[in-house]
């Protein structure tokens, strides 16, 4: 029995240790050059250093590739530098936004904010006074109202596009897409022109709900459509083959099978509208007092709370209050988003 030695797998195309060392030292060199550029030219600050560093790093790697291989490889390295740079630039705002909100927002968070409204306090009072109970309640009521209006419409639209597939499916798909591009302020103006000015003459939570649902319907319809398309056609055929009518197939087989997908659609719809500000400012009035009745009287909301603290305040306390509200809003959005990810990722698609 001869012991055959299995050769260790090698990757001759991979980078060797020496090459990696060379690249690392080149990147250090680029750092030094960037530092020199900061000292000698008009550039300054962290941003200036980053820009100079990127310039020199891509330059030295370009030269290295040109020397080791050829011009094509050098140009290729340039593309990868630029792609990496673009990705970094895309990520900087996300990191910066989240860290800003967390760092500035935690000062505005206190336990009393969930039990008080702003009737007894102004935005410039110390942060401990007042709270955003009214805003949370208002947001929940308005988003809930928008959901009651939007979910049936969104689901029916998605069912029309996936189950009926009528001759109008293409134009309707187009219109849903177009509707998702309606600017939020136009949604507010529309509710003003069709309901508030001619009929109710009053700004209240219901109007806010209706304006928000115009923005919510396309999100729900498109996500629900995608989710229904993921249901294998065999399930529909099985339902019909057992003698079920289309109505029974859809209600008994397709929709239950797509349940978690539809919940995802609802969650994404909520995440889309929960921070909408412009229509809320136009139609829901915006109140500092707790109001449980969407039919009468102005209603507060989280975006309005933040908006008011930011624009009418101007003191440290007002900013802390606004950032605190923003932190709550961001946490809500992140939780909703994570929930949607979890639900849609759980299914083996």
């Amino acid at each position: 029995m001869t012991q055959s030695t299995i050769p260790k797998p090698q990757m001759p195309w991979g980078t060797s240790k020496a090459q990696r060392m060379a690249t690392a030292s080149l990147l250090v060199l680029a750092g030094l050059l960037a530092g020199a550029a900061i000292e000698l030219t008009g550039l300054s600050g962290k941003l200036g250093f980053a820009a100079a560093y990127f310039f020199f790093a891509s330059l030295v790697i370009f030269a290295q590739q040109l020397q080791l291989r050829d011009l094509a490889a050098a140009k290729d390295s340039l593309l990868s530098s630029f792609a990496l740079l673009a990705m970094t630039i895309t990520l900087i705002p996300i990191v910066s936004i989240v860290s800003t909100v967390v760092l500035k927002g935690y000062k505005g968070i206190h336990f009393g904010m969930f039990t008080n409204d702003m009737t007894q306090a102004s935005v410039n009072d110390p942060v401990q006074a007042g709270g955003l109970l009214h805003a949370l309640v208002g947001t929940i009521i308005m988003v809930g109202g928008a959901l009651i209006v939007s979910f049936p419409i969104g689901l029916l639209t998605a069912l029309y596009l996936t189950e009926i597939r009528g001759s109008l499916a293409r134009p309707i798909k187009f219109l849903v897409q177009a509707m998702s591009g309606v600017p939020s302020i136009v949604a507010g103006l529309f509710i003003l022109s069709i309901l508030v000015i001619p009929v109710t003459q009053e700004l209240n939570g219901l109007m806010g709900s209706l304006a928000l649902s115009i923005l919510m319907i396309p999100t729900i319809a498109r996500t629900a459509e995608e989710m229904l398309l993921l249901i294998p056609n065999e399930l529909r055929e099985a339902g019909v083959a057992l003698g079920a009518t289309q109505w029974r197939t859809v209600s008994g087989v397709v929709v239950p099978a797509a349940k978690s997908g539809l919940v995802t659609a609802v969650i994404l719809g909520i995440a889309r509208i929960i921070g909408e500000t412009a229509p809320i400012l136009l139609v829901s009035g915006g109140a500092d007092a707790l109001n449980f009745n969407p039919m009468s009287g102005p209603m507060g909301s989280l975006p309005f709370y933040i908006w008011k603290a930011f624009l009418t305040g101007g003191t440290e306390e007002a900013y802390a209050r606004a950032w605190g509200g923003m932190l709550i809003l961001l946490i809500l959005i992140m939780v909703l988003f994570g929930l949607a990810r979890y639900l849609s990722g759980r299914r083996a698609v």
Binding site: G42, G45, L47, A72, A73, K75, D76, L79, S80, A83, L84, A86, M87, I89, T90, L91, P93, S96, T100, V101, P152, I153, L155, T157, L159, Y160, L161, E163, I164, L168, P171, F174, L175, A178, M179, G181, V182, P183, I185, V186, L189, F190, S193, I197, I214, I217, P218, Q246, W247, V250, G275, E276, T277, A278, P303, I306, W307, A322, M326, I333
Partner: protein
């Protein structure tokens, strides 16, 4: 014989075989079709009611509502409206200006990011990056606006000064007074950051649909990544990426809150993008709405109608482009 006859008597008549839908299906199909029409109805109603409100102003101003740059309401001694002129010109220029800055800055970054996500990133890092970008697309515009005002303003001002210093001889980078804060340039940067996740997501989807056989054929012929992307991915995805850029343009044109917070909204024609004044149609509506009288509200409705039609057109073009070029691979 009798047995057989008896049997046949017991067998019920065969169910009528028909393709005609049952009553329940007829109702179901009718309800779903009506529900499906809602988007058409809502879009129609938006156009109709904004026109109904805005028509009185549009009838007076006619075409000058778009071309003229004057938005004035003169009141007499008793506080009644004596004379009013409504022209959207300056704000339309501002809308296009900030949206174009957003597209010029944002789209190259977004497309390169999409290339990175499709052809460079691997495994869990790729998944994480995609989730982060999708999350960013869900951030409210309020958040972008305040972040832009508090955090971005400082560094953007620095870059604006740099641009002005070295490129000031180009008219649009000139400034009448050294005020660099709250300029259309900074608003454009905030809008660029807002549209990057949207354009990245669409471009990534388009790039993902590049036929794999062609990608592999290019590699087999010895192409580097750059050569492959230039020969296969770009020609294949060009139209879809342009569509994604148009979608971003539409989003940037209709943005209200972020522009309102970052930009110093003043009603004036401002071509000089680094100078701190300007506005867009949406922010004008928000600014003027609070103290507008009935006639001015009608004018704002007309402005909303213009904005609606503008974004609708841009969105329609982008949708056509994305569907035309993005569906081949499926």
């Amino acid at each position: 014989m009798t047995l057989l006859e008896n049997r046949s008597a017991e067998i019920p008549a065969p169910r009528e075989i028909t393709t005609k839908p049952r009553r329940s299906d007829q109702i179901f199909r009718a309800v779903v079709t009506i529900g499906g029409m809602t988007s058409l109805v809502i879009l129609g109603l938006i156009a109709l009611f904004l026109s109904l409100k805005g028509i009185s102003v549009l009838r007076v101003e006619k075409f000058t509502f778009i071309t003229e740059s004057k938005w004035e309401v003169l009141q007499d001694a008793e506080g009644k409206v004596a004379e009013s002129t409504f022209g959207l010109g300056a704000m339309l220029i501002g809308t296009f200006l900030s949206a174009f800055i957003a597209v010029i800055v944002g789209v190259p970054i977004a497309v390169l990011s999409a290339l990175y996500l499709t052809f460079y990133a691997r495994g869990p890092v790729k998944k994480l990056l995609i989730s982060l970008i999708d999350l960013m697309a869900a951030f409210p515009s309020l958040l972008f606006g305040f972040w832009g005002f508090i955090v971005l303003m400082g560094s953007a001002e620095y870059w604006a000064k740099l641009l002005n210093k070295y490129l000031g001889f180009i008219p649009i980078f000139d400034v009448p007074a050294p005020i660099f804060e709250r300029s259309p340039f900074i608003a454009g940067l905030v809008l660029a950051i807002m549209i990057i996740p949207i354009v990245t997501a669409i471009s990534r989807e388009i790039f993902d649909q590049t036929p794999l056989d062609r990608v592999q054929a290019a590699y087999a012929l010895g192409a580097s990544k750059l050569a492959m992307i230039r020969a296969v991915v770009i020609p294949y995805g060009r139209g879809g990426v342009v569509g994604g850029a148009m979608l971003g343009l539409g989003r940037a044109m209709g943005e209200t809150v972020a522009v309102y917070t970052v930009l110093n909204v003043v009603y004036q024609v401002n071509w000089q993008v680094l100078f701190g004044a300007g506005g867009n149609v949406a922010s004008l509506i928000l600014l003027k709405f609070g103290e507008a009288g009935p006639e001015e509200v009608n004018a704002l409705m007309a402005a909303g109608l213009v904005l609606f039609l503008l974004t609708l057109t841009v969105n329609a073009i982008s949708d056509v482009l994305i569907n035309k070029f993005g569906k081949k691979g499926r």
